[in-house]
Amino acid sequence: MNLAVVLVIAAVVALSIILRLAVTQSLQLKGSSGPDVSIRPIDIEAFRNLINPAEDEYLRRRLPPAQFRTVRRERLRAMAAYVQVANHNAAVLIRVGEAALAGRDGRVAEAAQLMVADALLLRRNATVAVARIYLALAWPGSEFAAVRVVERYEQLSGTAMLLGRLQNPGAAVRLSASR
């Protein structure tokens, strides 16, 4: 009977999570809940500097091992924060892109399709990168690079700018400080 209690609780929890997500989705489909458009800017040069393996190598040579591990952990935490902001921005752009997909302008829809595909890829890469960063926190001496996240973010920035220009020709849109 204990097993039945566990399964009933699991079923209730699963149903409440599913219904909450379904209600959110349903509200978005009906257009009564607009997407959160608070994109957070990223200093892409600082991000690049943070993930540069040469910087890590320099610190490894100059610092005693214990101090290097402390500094490396700090850098990994900062890296995780950057990746999470990139992940958040990708989520916002997916919503914006999906809204733009519904438009009648073929060029806007095409740019939106491209942007959503880039944002989805970034979100996938960022999720893996965050997991690997937290793993690297346990072994600060191990090699880790989030180059793919930065590259994908720059690509996404480009497609977002294209969509921004098509939607609003008077304004350019930047998602990072370096492009």
Binding site: V12, G34, S38, Q167, L175
Partner: protein
């Protein structure tokens, strides 16, 4: 043979499946059967299965063993078709986005394998609630299938929420109906398989049938009632963030 039941019992056994046949017919008329082929097959099979079981239940010549054998066969076929319906929902959601289709299909396969293992473990831990292996076995089989269904549907909703994928109105309706059905049925079949509420089984049966009725009405609504056009227009990228981005650019140039 099951004992005779109330009028409500007969209504709940037959009405949802009559509605299912009507829904399948309307889907066919509107061409939706080619879009949701597995779900269409599920509606037809489920109605056929339940009408057969109802006939076996009320026919005096049919033995209890024959009824439970038919119940078990129907349950296995229905279980696999339902997993196919969940696969069809994943296919519709991921098809426009090849970027995450591969990771999505790997996740579904991996989660499915873990769920089958968990469901097998749960089945092994069950103390049979009935001396007849066919009855207790079918209860355990129900519990097993619903553990897998529930887990896969939770994954479907979590995956789309995480990647912020937009649901098609009809796909959302099918998924919500299936999710309510799977979660409620998991609860009741888990109680039955583990020997709970022995004296009140008819309430659990009634709850299952009433839930099924609600789910069929949900499918009716989402598949046949036209979707309202969203009132908001396409959202542009925010212009107010430009100032922040440009400020950062200036700061970078001054370094």
């Amino acid at each position: 043979m099951l004992p005779a039941h109330s009028l409500l019992w007969h209504y709940f056994w037959l009405a949802p499946h009559i509605l299912q046949v009507a829904l399948a017919f309307l889907m066919w008329r509107r061409g939706l059967h080619s879009l949701f082929g597995v779900f269409f097959a599920y509606l037809i099979f489920e109605a056929f299965e339940e009408f057969t079981l109802y006939g076996l239940d009320i026919a005096p010549a049919v033995s209890g063993e024959t009824f439970w054998r038919a119940f078990c066969v129907g349950l296995i076929v229905e279980g696999f078709i339902k997993i196919g319906v969940i696969g069809e929902l994943f296919y519709h959601l991921l098809r426009p986005w090849p970027a995450i289709a591969k990771v999505g299909s790997r996740l579904v396969t991996g989660t499915g394998a873990v769920l089958v293992l968990l469901a097998s473990l749960a089945a092994a831990l069950v103390v049979p609630d009935n001396n007849h292996w066919l009855i207790s076995g079918s209860h355990i089989l129900q519990q097993t299938f619903y553990i897998v269904d529930c887990g896969l549907l939770a994954l479907l909703f979590s995956f789309t929420a995480y990647f912020k994928l937009a649901w098609n109105y009809r796909i959302l309706g099918i998924a919500v109906g299936l999710a309510i059905l799977a979660c409620e049925h998991l609860g009741t079949w888990a109680v039955m398989a583990n020997g709970g509420l022995l004296g009140q089984r008819h309430f659990l049966d009634l709850l299952n049938m009433a839930t099924y009725h609600v789910c069929v009405l949900i499918w009716f609504y989402y598949l046949l009632v036209p979707q309202k056009t969203p009132t908001t227009s396409a959202v542009s990228l925010p212009e107010n963030n430009l100032a922040i981005w440009n400020r950062e650019l200036e700061r970078l140039l001054q370094q």
